[in-house]
């Protein structure tokens, strides 16, 4: 750009016309002004002109230099230099074409990477923690698997042994034992599949036994029971006659497990009998199964009292083990919850975010009506809507609204004719909330629409 140089004479003319004074007066004034400033400077003073700037002297130290052609060293004497420091007012006005530009940090990406690294460092202990947690979980599951494996063979092996021993025991005892066990069975039922399996086996056996019993006659059975020498089959045969004889007493003892036995009287109808037998055999069979399942941990003890203690221990152990089985589940469920929780919070956040968006959305969607105006501006050289926006709304992005309000006047927002009077609209403070990223986003959207 070739700079147009304006001489003193032109300045004089301009000042004369503006201040409506004669050119002579203006000339005189300017001369005096310059001479006064010079005087002031020569007196070593700092001369300040309002809204223009400050003149002051700067001492340049003497320095050595070399003559390029002759390569002779020359000493440049120290001298005073008049320095002009423009006032902020003048600075801003002169720099207006570039006022909307701001320094940009270039190493943002590098910075971000650094931040990520820091995050990784921060997350390390957390990761270690989760790793540890998973390790512990694995260990627990392994222990469980081992305990299950170990308990199973023992129970199966000892089952046979105990069945033999059990045959010698009184059936009455068996019934009594059965009752408390039943209660526990209710607790454990559904959790311990092994027990159920065993029970099923026993039940199957018992059904077979029952069938055989049906064929036989009761006295024979009684005889057989007195003998009580052989395996399970006989054990059951023992049970049945007692049942048939003392149904009432036993049904009372069995109340908890089979309440409807009470109603059954020693009728000779075979169907009812079969039913009773079946139920009793089932109950007893399950009782035996449970008994043998609980017992294996302890060494074989024939005495009932010891049995009871052992049962208690075994039951408590089982409960412990059951609770152990439960805990990982609970943990896993807890984990599931913890996984769910952030999801939920995310959802919640999104909902929260959506709410203000909705109210703003309406504001954004509605066509903006510009009725009130704060000010009006004349477009000069270097004037820009962004600069006006920054001046009135605090941020340059909201220039779109000024454009919208002056759409009839402005044909091209990038090139507004000099001298155009632009009105600055009064805007909803929610719309030009500089702290809300949504507002800026919306303004940028509009910017993209208008600048194409």
């Amino acid at each position: 750009m070739i700079k147009e140089k304006i001489s003193s004479q032109e300045i004089i003319d301009l000042v004369a016309s503006k201040a409506s004074v004669s050119k002579r007066a203006a000339e005189e004034f300017l001369k005096i002004m310059i001479s006064t400033i010079e005087e002031g400077l020569l007196a070593g003073e700092v001369v300040k002109i309002k809204n223009f700037g400050t003149f002051k002297l700067q001492w340049n130290e003497p320095r050595k230099s070399v003559n390029i052609q002759t390569k002779e060293e020359i000493l440049i004497n120290g001298y005073f230099k008049v320095v002009f420091i423009p006032d902020t007012e003048l600075k801003e006005q002169v720099n207006e074409p570039f006022a909307h530009l701001e320094p940009v940090e270039l190493d943002v990406e590098a910075k971000k990477n650094e931040l990520i690294d820091e995050n990784e460092v921060v997350s390390d202990p957390l990761r270690i923690f989760t790793e540890q947690a998973s390790e512990i979980k694995n260990l627990i599951s392994e222990i469980q698997a081992l305990s299950k494996k170990s308990s199973k063979p023992i129970s199966e092996e000892e089952l046979i042994q105990e069945i033999k021993l059990y045959d010698q025991e009184n059936d009455q005892e068996n019934e009594e034992v059965n009752v408390p066990e039943k209660v526990h069975e209710n607790i454990i039922e559904g959790i311990n599949t092994e027990i159920i399996n065993q029970n099923n086996q026993v039940v199957k056996d018992s059904i077979k036994v029952e069938e055989s019993i049906l064929i036989e006659e009761t006295p024979q059975v009684q005889d057989n029971s007195k003998e009580s020498s052989d395996e399970i089959a006989e054990n059951y045969t023992e049970v049945i006659p007692i049942n048939s004889e003392n149904i009432k007493t036993e049904s009372v003892s069995d109340l908890q497990s089979t309440p409807y036995l009470e109603n059954i009287k020693p009728t000779n109808k075979s169907k009812i009998r079969i039913l009773i037998l079946l139920i009793l055999v089932l109950v007893i069979g399950s009782g035996i199964g449970l008994y043998f399942y609980y017992k294996p941990t302890k060494e074989l003890s024939i005495e009932y009292s010891i049995d009871k203690i052992s049962q208690k221990i075994s039951i408590s152990e089982i409960i412990n083990s059951v609770s152990k089985w439960f805990t990982p589940e609970a943990k896993s469920s807890l984990k599931a919850i913890t996984i769910v929780v952030p999801k939920d919070t995310n959802d919640y956040d999104s909902i929260n975010e959506n709410k203000p968006i909705d109210s703003l959305q309406i504001l954004f969607e509605n066509p903006r009506v510009y009725n009130n105006y704060i000010a009006s501006e004349r477009i000069n050289v270097g004037s820009r809507l962004t600069i006006l926006s920054k001046r009135y709304y605090g941020i340059k992005d909201f220039w779109v609204y000024i454009y919208e309000a002056n759409k009839e006047i402005i044909s091209n927002p990038d090139n507004i004719a000099i001298g155009t009077i632009i009105r600055i609209p009064k805007l909803d403070p929610r719309l030009i909330d500089t702290t809300n990223p949504r507002c800026i986003e919306k303004a940028k959207e509009l910017h993209d629409i208008y600048i194409r």
């Binding site: 147009e4 003149f55 230099k81 190493d107 000069n380």
Partner: protein, 96 residues
């Protein structure tokens, strides 16, 4: 010497009231500013030239944080003293 003192001394020299001098000074400043905004060079004879210079955009590196910042271009007013003034100042050197 601030604005007031300048006006006072000028008024004394011109034999004119301060208000008129102040008004004239203001208009002069306003005229100069306008001209400078239009990126024109103003030359005052025997005093110096006022001109607008464009400082190009540049990279600045923060010495301690090493953050590189792009400084946008800007327009600045520059004053260059005339040789007459320079000579006058040379004479002043003795005072220093």
């Amino acid at each position: 010497m601030n604005n007031k003192e300048l006006i006072a001394s000028m008024a004394a020299k011109m034999n004119a009231p301060k208000s008129i001098v102040a008004m004239l000074l203001e208009t002069t400043v306003a005229t100069c500013t306008e001209l400078l905004v239009e990126e024109k060079t103003i030359g005052f004879q025997s005093f110096g030239n006022f001109e607008v210079r464009k400082k190009e955009e540049r990279l600045s590196v923060h010495p301690s944080t090493q953050i590189r910042t792009l400084i946008p271009p800007k327009l600045v007013v520059n004053f260059k003293q005339s040789n007459i003034l320079k000579d006058k100042l040379k004479d002043m050197q003795q005072h220093d």
